[in-house]
Structure formats: C-alpha cells, structure tokens
C-alpha cells in the first residue's frame, strides 16, 4: 500500500485499536477533526467517542488523565497537538510517566504512547517547530522514538502498542506528507531500541534521525560517498552496539540532528564513541546540528535548520582530517 507517514500512522493506530479494545486515543481536536494533521482521521466514527476522546484544551491533564487511564487498565494514546505545547504536560511526563514503575517496584506500570509532531522546516508560528527529543531521553524511564519514513512510522507505532512501556512518539511534521512508500497492509513491528543501517559504507559513518535522514541521504547520494548512514529510529534507549560497530568500521563519525548542538543526542553519541572506540578513530567526531539557541521565527529558519550544504561542508572537514 502506498502511504505517507500520516496514513501509515493512521493505519497503525487503526490496527492497534482493533486488536486491543482497551486502547483509547485522547487529545485536542483528534476526534471530529481527526487531529490537526489528520493522523487520527476517521477513527472516531469507527471506534466511538469513548475511545477517541476530544479532550478539553489542557495539556497537563491530557497526559495526567492518560496516566490514570493506564493505571485503570486502559492503553491510552495521548496526542499533544504540538511539541512546543507539550511542555505544559512536562511535569506529568517527568514526575509520573517516567517514574511510576520505579515508584511501585513495577506493581503499577504505564503502557502508553504519547504522540506529538516535532521539528521545523514548515514555516509556521512560533512554538510549532521544536525538536525536544533529548528532554525526554534524558529522564530515564521513557522510551523515545522518532521515525523518518512511513514504514518505520507504522512499525514503531505497532511495536509501541504491543509493548508495556511508556513511549514518547515523535513525528517529524515536515516528513508527514513529504513522500510515500509501499508498505505492508497488515500489522508488523519495527523493533524498539534498534537503529537502522540504511546504507552501508566504508569511509565515514553518519548517524542521524528524524528530519535529517532525508538531508543526509541526499548529500551522500549526490556526492556518491561510501558512507554508512545510521538512522537511530529509537533515541532512548540508544542502540550503542550499532553505533560503536560502525564507528570502528569507518573510523570517521559525524552526527547530524536538527535539535540544538549543545547537550544533544550528538553529544551523547560522541561520548559513547569516545569511551569505547576512540583509539579506532582516524579523525575527531563532528556534530552537525542547529545552533545552541531556541528555534527562531520562520523568517530565519533556513539559516537555523541544518541543510545539505552544511552537512556537505562538515563531511569535507571530516574526510580531510
């Protein structure tokens, strides 16, 4: 079936809700409107308003009530309309979603999928373009995934739906309808915690995820590089094994993400490579990311989000060392 990320996610949620009658969706405008990006389109009429819940406009309680629903035996899938507004639920996520299992020594667990659109490049209002993955990955207790294509979007969603852990499911807005893929109609899973080596290569390793996967792929293709490209897919827990293996293989590593440089996923990966493979590197690790400042208004975004040129120049540097 030809699908973009929106239809792949819609299809995954549909399959998961059919399989599991305890699954409920909740969020702002997800019912009648089908979500502002239409990810939940058609599900209200299929599953009814007790399972597709248009909530009041209140983010903290969207996650907070989802916690109670999970404790009460449901499998909630809260949608936060935009990642920039998800901060209003940050206390619930950090203080409770991430900790409830620990707090009760696993007597109470919170299977749930917290969905939100992330990242920019779509020329929209302030607070609609954030890339908050590290903010959730840093906590511990939260699985953080971010697909970069329709196949992974559906497979990760179903893996999360079949799991027992709280998952922060980040959906790059820019990729929602960017391209289609032919993906299986039936249910399948993409394993959580497993990075995808989307291209084998010998000269350098580029580790990336989300919106930057397309950018990196384009540069590698245009320049016909023998680059190994790793799409993380899961940010936390990080697939260290795949990363270290590739670093050792090529000896030159670059990490590319849209989120700001400092304290980012790139820093985490660099540290792990430094700890486990530094003597097998031929050049210092390079990070390509947005500058260490908040996402600007759209007028400046093309100077902010890393693009093919920025990635390509960094590759020159990495190969010249």
């Amino acid at each position: 079936m030809q699908m973009n990320i929106v239809s792949a996610l819609n299809n995954a949620l549909d399959l998961a809700m059919t399989e599991n009658e305890k699954m409920v969706l909740l969020g702002e405008d997800i019912g009648t409107d089908g979500g502002v990006f239409r990810v939940t389109d058609g599900l209200l009429s299929k599953y009814g308003e007790s399972r597709v819940i248009d909530t009041p406009l209140a983010e903290s309680s969207i996650v907070g009530t989802a916690i109670g629903m999970a404790i009460g035996g449901l499998f909630p899938v809260p949608e936060l309309q935009f990642a920039g507004f998800m901060y209003l639920s940050f206390s619930q996520i950090v203080n409770h979603v991430a900790r409830y299992r620990a707090r009760t020594r696993s007597a109470i667990t919170l299977p749930m999928i917290i969905r939100t659109p992330v990242s920019g490049g779509v020329r929209t209002l302030e607070h609609h373009s954030e890339s908050p993955e590290v903010e959730y990955a840093h906590i511990g207790g939260l699985i953080v995934v971010e697909p970069s294509n329709p196949y992974d979007a559906k497979g990760l969603m179903l893996a999360a739906a079949h799991g027992k852990d709280p998952v922060i499911f980040l959906e790059p807005t820019k990729l929602y309808r960017l391209f289609k893929q032919d993906i299986p109609e039936n249910a399948y899973e993409v394993p959580i915690g497993k990075a995808n080596v989307i291209k084998q290569g010998d000269d350098l390793t580029i580790i990336t995820y989300g919106t930057m996967v397309e950018v990196v792929k384009n540069v590698v293709e245009k320049r016909k590089l023998s680059a190994e490209v790793v799409d993380l897919r899961t940010i936390n827990p990080i697939d260290e094994k795949t990363i270290i293996e590739s670093a050792k293989k090529t000896g030159r590593v670059m990490i590319v993400h849209e989120a700001p440089l400092s304290f980012g996923v790139g820093a985490e990966i660099s540290a792990r490579i430094a700890e486990k493979a530094i003597f097998e590197l031929d050049a210092p690790i390079i990070r390509v990311a947005a500058p260490s400042l908040p996402y600007p208004l759209p007028g400046d975004e093309k100077f902010y989000v890393p693009n093919e040129l920025k990635v390509s120049k960094a590759i020159d540097k990495l190969l010249s060392e």
């Binding site: 996650v63 009530t65 629903m69 009460g72 206390s91 020594r105 007597a107 699985i143 827990p237």
Partner: protein, 363 residues
C-alpha cells in the same frame, strides 16, 4: 439589559459539634455504633503511627515526613465511606488511607524510611485499590480523573476518591482535573483537605475566593463544605457523593487544621502564632468523637488504654520489620522498563562490579 443568568450556593455541613453533640436530622441512618467505633480506632491508630514516625525521623531513622496530626477525621471519615472496589488516589499527607485500606503497617514504614518496596503492594495483586503517595502538589488529580474515566469505561460501577490540600487548589492540575471530570461526568470524589496552611502560606493568601468548594462551580460540578474535624459529617458528605457518583463528580472541602509542622523540615513558629494552634485544640477530631462515644456508653478509659497498648505493639512490630529490611540496589535498575536495555544493564553491572555499593571509604 442586565439579568441574572447564574446563581449558586455553597452549603456548610456539620453533624457532630465540638462537644460530641449530634444533629440527629443529618445523622447517616446506615452508620452503626460498631462502625463509628471502628473509625475512632483508625483515627487513633493514624495518630499513633504519626507520632511514632515523627520520633523515628528525629532519630534519623525515617526520611522527611508530612504529619497528619489533627486531620484524622477528614482522612478516615472519607476513606471509610468508600466501598470495597472504589479506588484511592492520595497526595502526600494521607497516610491514614493506607491503614483503612489495610496496607500492612510495615510497608508504610518502609515507604517512610525511603524504600519504594513499601508501595510494591499498592495495586492489583493485593487488591488494595490505593495508589502510592504523590509529592508534586495536585498532580495526582488528573490521574484520579483518568482512573475514573477507566472505571466508567469498564462499567463496573466503582468510584474514585482523591485528595488535595488547600494550597493544591491553586495549581493548574486542580482546575484541569475537575474540569475534565465535569465534562465526562466521571465517578470521582475530590476531597479538599483544607488544613489552613500550605507550608507558610495561610488559606486566605491562597485565593480571594470565599470558599474552596466554590471552585467546583466553574467546572459545573456540585460541591459542599464540611467540618473536616467531624468524622460523621465527612462520612456523610462522602457517602452522598458516592451515591451520586454514577451521575458525576463531587468536590468536598473539609475544613480542618494542620496542628503540627508542615513536614519535619519545617519550623512553623516562624510564620504561625502558637495561639492559632491553641484555638483549634478544643475542636480536635478524636477528642470530640471520644466525647460522643463516652456519652453513649460505647467507650471508656479502660478500652482506651487497651487500644493504646494494642496500637503500640502493632506499631513496634511493624517498625522492627521495616528496619530489618535490606534493600537491593539492583531494584533501582530493574524497575524502569519492562525489559532491561543493554545500555542500562551495562551501567548496573559496572556499578555492582565497582564495589561502591559496599560500605567503605576512599583510602
């Protein structure tokens, strides 16, 4: 043109006054003498456990603690009015709920000593139906609303009761939770345990609203204010709310008083005159219930002594058992995900191998 389009009233209810006199009209017909004695015993046990834990904390044998002294009627009366299958979502001061719900006392002392293992029995396996204590103020209220949603969804007829302090009613989560409960007409009872203080901030500085109960009006749900030191009044208000829970939520503001410190890290002499506390002493919830029971010939000094002896035996045994507990630091790592990720396993193995979990000092 101007016309009145909305009007509302908040009622205050008291059934048993400070001297133990009863308003017969309001007295719940289904409440037996035995049940009242049982509530008296829970209130007394809660006060004894509270005192014990304070002393343990002062000796360095328990962590920071929020005492419930003076608030026993609000906690026990409300808990006692709930049915077997109803669920409890406390804040951080409602230790008495665990006693009413039958959490083994040593488990409570484990929690008070700082071990999650005390809460490993809170839910399904033991059917206790009471959630762990929640420290971030008011954040438990949306959980309670979501739980009530799940209960309504399951159509099992049960209700959820949750607790928040007077200070907690200023939090966004309070408004969000009662609003959500109102929209979906959830079987939820919200107890505002108004003890007059939020650490050093008196009730009057928390809001210009004349009552906290009236906050429910904006959410479109019924509410009442009750004398929170009157266990019969609290019992009745909650029983009525339980009866009505199939139609939707109720907010109950219980007026009580924090007779002690906020927590063991607090010194109230800095912000609260002793005279204020003195003025509340005659309204003590246990004292007044005892007056009532004695006047009815249901209680006397020898029964009191017998109960006190029993309680201290029970408490000492529980403390001994809790103090014998040895925690396994691996539990920290192994209760984070449903499986053990490689990267976390490596951290656990390293920590164990390094020996820093053993006693010792740097040479």
């Amino acid at each position: 043109m101007i016309k009145k389009i909305f009007d509302a009233t908040i009622n205050y209810m008291q059934i048993m006054d400070e001297n133990g006199n009863i308003d017969q009209q309001l007295f719940p017909k289904n409440l037996s003498d035995e049940q009242i004695i049982e509530m008296y015993k829970y209130m007394s046990l809660a006060r004894a456990v509270d005192a014990k834990n304070l002393s343990l904390q002062r000796q360095g044998r328990a962590v920071t603690y929020a005492p419930l002294l003076g608030e026993e009627a609000t906690q026990v009366g409300s808990a006692y009015a709930m049915r077997e299958n109803d669920l409890f979502v406390p804040a951080f001061r409602q230790h008495a709920l665990y006693m009413v719900k039958g959490l083994p006392l040593y488990k409570l002392f484990l929690v008070l000593k700082g071990y999650e293992d005390g809460f490993d029995a809170v839910d399904k396996p033991s059917k206790l139906n009471v959630l762990p204590e929640i420290v971030p103020v008011a954040t438990q209220l949306p959980h309670a609303a979501g739980l009530a949603y799940a209960k309504k969804y399951s159509k099992d007829g049960s209700a959820v009761i949750t607790y928040v302090g007077d200070g907690g009613t200023s939090e966004g989560d309070f408004y969000e939770a009662i609003n959500f409960a109102g929209v979906f007409k959830l079987p939820l009872i919200i107890i505002i345990e108004n003890n007059g203080w939020a650490i050093s901030i008196p009730r009057k500085k928390q809001t210009a609203a004349g009552t906290l109960a009236q906050k429910a009006i904006a959410a479109g749900i019924p509410s009442i204010q009750v004398d929170g030191n009157d266990v019969i009044g609290v019992y009745k208000a909650v029983s009525d709310a339980v009866m009505n829970s199939k139609n939707g939520p109720t907010v109950i503001e219980c007026i009580t008083y924090r007779m002690g410190i906020h927590t063991t890290a607090d010194d109230p002499t800095k912000y609260r005159p002793d005279a204020d506390v003195e003025a509340w002493k005659p309204k003590d919830p246990i004292l007044r219930l005892r007056k009532y029971l004695e006047a009815k010939g249901l209680w006397n000094q020898s029964k009191e002594q017998q109960m006190a002896d029993q309680n201290s035996k029970l408490i000492d045994a529980a403390v001994d058992k809790a103090e014998a507990f040895v925690v396994n630091p691996k539990s920290m790592f192994e209760n984070i995900y449903s499986y053990m990720p490689d990267v976390l396993k490596e951290e656990e193995d390293e920590a164990e191998a390094s020996g820093f979990w053993q006693e010792g000092s740097v040479e």
